[in-house]
Symmetry: C2
Subunit: 425 residues, 2 copies
């Protein structure tokens, strides 16, 4: 195969007609394929449903002297706090155990910043003239949407191989209107990048003009290696404490992709002073999150070591799917020279950069033959990718056979969109 | 026994010394009793723990074609929506199924009113100069605290035998700064009053100046009769719809006192247009609430009829406790003529009005000998009872023997505080 850019125009035309015929063949197949969201597969859920055999009517529901079936313990069961502290590498007294969604905890922090202010806020953000928020991109669309929904101005920070462009971050935090940054530090969504130790240190040593600047550290994929061994990762709470700014960070995680999406438990971790402040605010909105579910998770996951064992069950299903993606892209797309992509060892996504100006069109072509993918631009603030190049591939949900079919369609659409562009069609 | 007001001063002195000796005897007993909160007892929780025998690893987790273990269905499992609609008497498409806490759903509605505005809001409440909120009192302290925490001015509305003083409510809603009212319409907290049909109709026909005035209808005790038969109650959503203001009300409920406190499921019900608006706002903060727990509740509760059967299990434990309270008060306090109280047939509380100016002192006396009760004034806005008279008794948690002991202490402290007042001590 020849790279498209090295072909003559005639060769490109021939190739275009060949790919168009392939595409036309899909049109008749009435496919219904979906690789849009990082949704675990049924097979993964079945592999961990022994979770439901742990609690019975005659179980001892008492844990650390607390009847987990009754009211109380706003910040979580002590045993659940110990579990999360073990997984994240922080202290139990730095954790607050939430409900099924860490996204809700993140929303809560931002919402309370607007209505009540954070611990170090001179006033609630709703009383500030302008709020700006840093968004390393490509990034997680749901993060960006939270701050967007409150009216913050979103600022794109480019991603590098070692994390967000820290020179730019350090420059932006000089602006007192810049109140925070969204981060997925390990196996970033969608790039699968693991922030380098130096990046983590530079985060901890940030010197923002806003006293209530907050690092929203979404450690969503903290134990989510699907290939190779567990990758230890620095504890951001200790790093910030040692750098003298213990209150600058909120870390988040959940069991959504460890046990069950939407019915697991979540956590935020922060300095003890932050925790005290947030717990006081949260005491107005609830008595406690679901402690029965916390208890079931403690029984099921036990500790970090055993959690990593559980994650190996997921890996047996996930690894072959990522291999399908990699094989399709390296055989079908790599030789054509118009796209690049990451090769993650954990997380839920492959992030692909196709020929600039063709991502939207490629996904439109996918959609027309029944393949749903995350919409182009979704990984950028306001849903706009200035290069119209990035595409997020989420291979976890469909069975391997369907995924192969989806990748076949996807590669064809990438090629067709690129050739259309080259030929000015 | 003679009513205190009919005693001579000498008789009062003699009685004072007698009661003081009784009280001194408690001091040596180092008791640790608690009738402060509406917390179900261990016995109740044990009676319904067959809940945990319903789901197993080999269960069919698919419900209405949805795998309840995976992401999706933001507004709830269809079967959970049908269950709540059946219990509340509204339509499934008017329900949004929440997490373990209806309080959190109420907080969310108020919080979003401040940050984004409600469906009919001209602007977010945070942009209004002043927000006022009506608080029928005695009422639920956690309701009042939500609006207080957002900076609303709380206005006390006296309670009558048939619900809040509606003449006053109708007058207050003429003020465009008055944005809503808190209600517990059936077995009100703490009075146990059931709003009359006429009160419900007057609510539905309110004509508020604020276009986004909201009735926060917390139907917390909708199926919580502990004696006698189920009391049917009008559906406020239909009433408001028929009166031409379908968007004026949000109804709330939960299974906190049906299955497990803090690990049940909750619901809000509202017009379909409200639901659409709220669902859009909530899509930013979560993917869905815990659908596994929703499914388990559907399997356990089935429908309203079966839910009422489950409630009879609770009643077997609750009824004897309310009898203990009633017997203690009617034998020890009634003849003395300085206090009155309600005799509810459902809910979780007995609301007592003691001699004005002595409630705080009575509870201080209780506390000094190891009996914890809801603090005096808690049922009023800002925690201030202008008469210092109301006391909330929550008999559900302790075993009957401890409750008898607690009521013994409580009656003694009521008398001592009253005699101190009469004698100017």
């Amino acid at each position: 195969m020849t790279a498209y850019s090295c072909m003559t125009r005639d060769q490109q035309e021939t190739e275009y007609n060949r790919i168009l015929r392939q595409y036309r063949a899909f049109e008749d197949q009435k496919m219904n394929l979906n690789i849009a969201r990082g949704k675990p597969s049924r097979e993964q859920l079945d592999l961990i449903s022994d979770f439901f055999d742990l609690l019975h009517s005659d179980s001892d529901f008492s844990c650390d002297g607390v009847d987990c079936r009754n009211y109380g313990d706003l910040s979580g069961l002590p045993s659940a706090k110990r579990l999360w502290a073990d997984i994240l590498g922080c202290k139990p007294e730095e954790t607050f155990i939430g409900g099924a969604s860490s996204l809700t905890l993140m929303y809560d922090v931002i919402s309370k910043a607007y209505t009540h202010g954070l611990l170090r806020s001179p006033r609630p953000w709703s009383k500030e003239e302008k709020i700006r928020f840093l968004c390393p991109s490509p990034g997680y669309d749901r993060h960006f949407r939270i701050t967007e929904s409150f009216g913050a101005e979103l600022i794109t920070i480019p991603m590098t191989e070692s994390g967000p462009d820290m020179d730019l971050v350090e420059a932006y935090v000089q602006d007192p209107a810049v109140k925070g940054i969204w981060c997925v530090p390990k196996f970033s969504n969608p790039d699968g990048i693991v922030y380098s130790a130096q990046t983590v240190e530079r985060f901890a040593h940030l010197n923002p003009a806003a006293p209530d600047f907050v690092i929203m550290w979404d450690n969503a994929y903290c134990v989510h290696e699907f290939t190779g061994e567990f990758l230890p990762f620095p504890d951001i709470l200790s790093a910030c404490r040692e750098a003298g700014r213990p209150d600058m960070v909120f870390e988040f995680a959940s069991t959504s992709k460890i046990t069950f999406p939407g019915s697991g438990i979540s956590v935020f971790a922060c300095s003890e002073e932050n925790l005290k402040y947030m717990t006081k605010l949260m005491s107005v909105q609830m008595i406690s999150y679901n402690k029965v579910n916390q208890y079931a998770h403690v029984l099921f996951l036990k500790d970090r070591e055993h959690t990593l064992e559980i994650m190996k069950r997921h890996a047996t299903v996930m690894a072959p799917k990522f291999r399908v993606v990699e094989e399709a892209l390296s055989s079908e797309i790599a030789p054509l020279g118009f796209a690049r992509w990451n090769k993650p060892t954990g997380g839920y996504f492959v992030s692909l950069f196709t020929m600039p100006g063709t991502a939207k069109r490629a996904l439109e072509l996918c959609s027309q033959v029944g393949l749903t993918m995350t919409s182009a631009g979704a990984s950028y603030p306001y849903g706009i990718d200035p290069d119209d190049s990035n595409i997020r591939i989420a291979p976890s949900y469909p069975p391997v056979e369907e995924l192969q079919q989806a990748m076949n369609v996807f590669c064809t659409c990438l090629k067709l969109a690129a050739l259309e562009k080259l030929l000015g069609k």
